[in-house]
Subunit: 261 residues, 2 copies
């Protein structure tokens, strides 16, 4: 049983990858829709929220074998705190995505786009340089991408295209040949990002993290139906999830008072 | 002493009005920057947050004579709960703005633009029809406006212009001659909104609310320097406040753990 959590809806892109890569895996999901976005908050607030998210998941489900932090912001600012506080394998999106990008780049120049908090943490840059010290890294915070996705400006929306053009111009001009989508919301506007970065290889951090967590998924376990929990607006989450997961969405979202944890 | 609170930065537009209308008034401000935005959250969450905001203000300052809820979302979904729970004059932005709009319209058709929660509450529409039953009301939720303002897409930004064009087209086509800016963030993109609504009279809900609270400001009181409190990122708040208030900004923002209240 894998537990996946995110600040909101974005982690569902990791769920989609998990369902595709490990169709037999059991999982539960928590989206902190009552406190999204995390990416513009301070480090201490993000840590507090992440600890609450973990405590909730471990209380609601006793069979968790590994945790996937499907949130770029938590992965880059609070992962070590979580790993120190909880005694089970906890995976973030930073290390797997950095490894994939370091392997993919041909000119040794990787870009990272993510929320303000993730970029400010420097986590992707540190990890890329740890793997390959001679690498060049260009970073760019894109704080409007999460609100654009959460408010439905997807599917080739001209507003999103214009914001992509603005945010990604320095990335395009940097000469990076590979770009990490350092936030799990971003695959939902992947086409718009790709259009603004022609010829650049895009690395989906959530998808890479799913590959990392896969070995920790018990080979033999009774498959349980997935459960989804949110801290606000279950109906909005259900609409979004059914749009994203299509026929794979046959669940309801359960409401959680996350501040109790 | 007036207490003013908002979900984030937007209420500072009401502070600006207060300073201009009542230069001698003392006030304190709380911006819930750790939990912004309120406007996409459920009613029960908004009520919980608003009660916490009030408890904090009354604990930190004993001389409060009136409260200005400079948040369209709280004003439209939680004002009566606050008035039932606290024994002092509490003003929201809905009634004053509705009264000003009803007085301003010549063709009896008023539009309201605000966050999703405010529009869903129906508060402006109810109040407009209470004042003038024959009025026609057109409403439009603009959920991306707050993130645009909070992320600096102001000052004639083409992205904001495009979003205004999109959101406000049905308002323009409705024939309304008056439009209430039902969220205190919106005056920060007033020019862009005006451009998309040529010939339409714009009503600033925060400014109207300041006029309503003015009589409750003690005529004689020792003027205290204003205090500003936020629940996250005081530096970001200070940058924004000094931009908005100019030379009038000579304060610091103090950090509050709002979930304690």
């Amino acid at each position: 049983m894998i537990a996946i959590f995110d600040s909101g809806l974005g982690g569902l892109t990791a769920v989609r990858e998990l369902r595709s890569l490990l169709p037999g895996a059991s999982y539960i999901y928590f989206g902190d829709t009552g406190r999204v976005p995390y990416g513009t908050r301070s480090r201490s607030t993000i840590i507090k929220y992440a600890l609450q998210d973990m405590r909730f998941l471990l209380e609601v489900e006793s069979r968790i074998s590994a945790v996937l932090v499907a949130c770029g912001t938590v992965s880059s600012t609070a992962l070590n705190v979580l790993q120190e506080n909880f005694d089970l394998p906890i995976f973030g999106v930073v290390e797997p995505a950095a490894a994939a990008a370091a392997a993919a780049t041909k000119n040794g120049h990787v870009a990272v786009i993510a929320t303000s908090a993730t970029i400010a943490s420097g986590a992707y840059e540190r990890e890329l340089k740890r793997i390959r010290p001679d690498i060049t890294v260009t970073t760019k915070a894109c704080p409007l991408f999460v609100p654009l996705v959460e408010n439905g400006f997807t599917g080739g929306d001209p507003v999103t295209k214009m914001v992509c053009e603005r945010y990604l111009e320095p990335v395009r001009e940097s000469g990076a040949d590979t770009c990490i989508l350092g936030c799990t919301h971003y695959p939902l506007i992947r086409d718009e990002i790709a259009e603004a970065l022609p010829g650049v290889t895009l690395i989906d951090s959530g998808a890479e993290a799913v590959k990392a967590v896969a070995p920790y998924c018990p080979a033999v376990e009774e498959k349980c139906p997935p459960r989804y929990f949110v801290s606000d607006d279950p109906e909005g989450f259900e609409r979004f999830a059914s749009l994203l997961l299509g026929d794979d969405w046959q669940s309801r979202a359960e409401l959680v008072d996350i501040e109790k944890y």
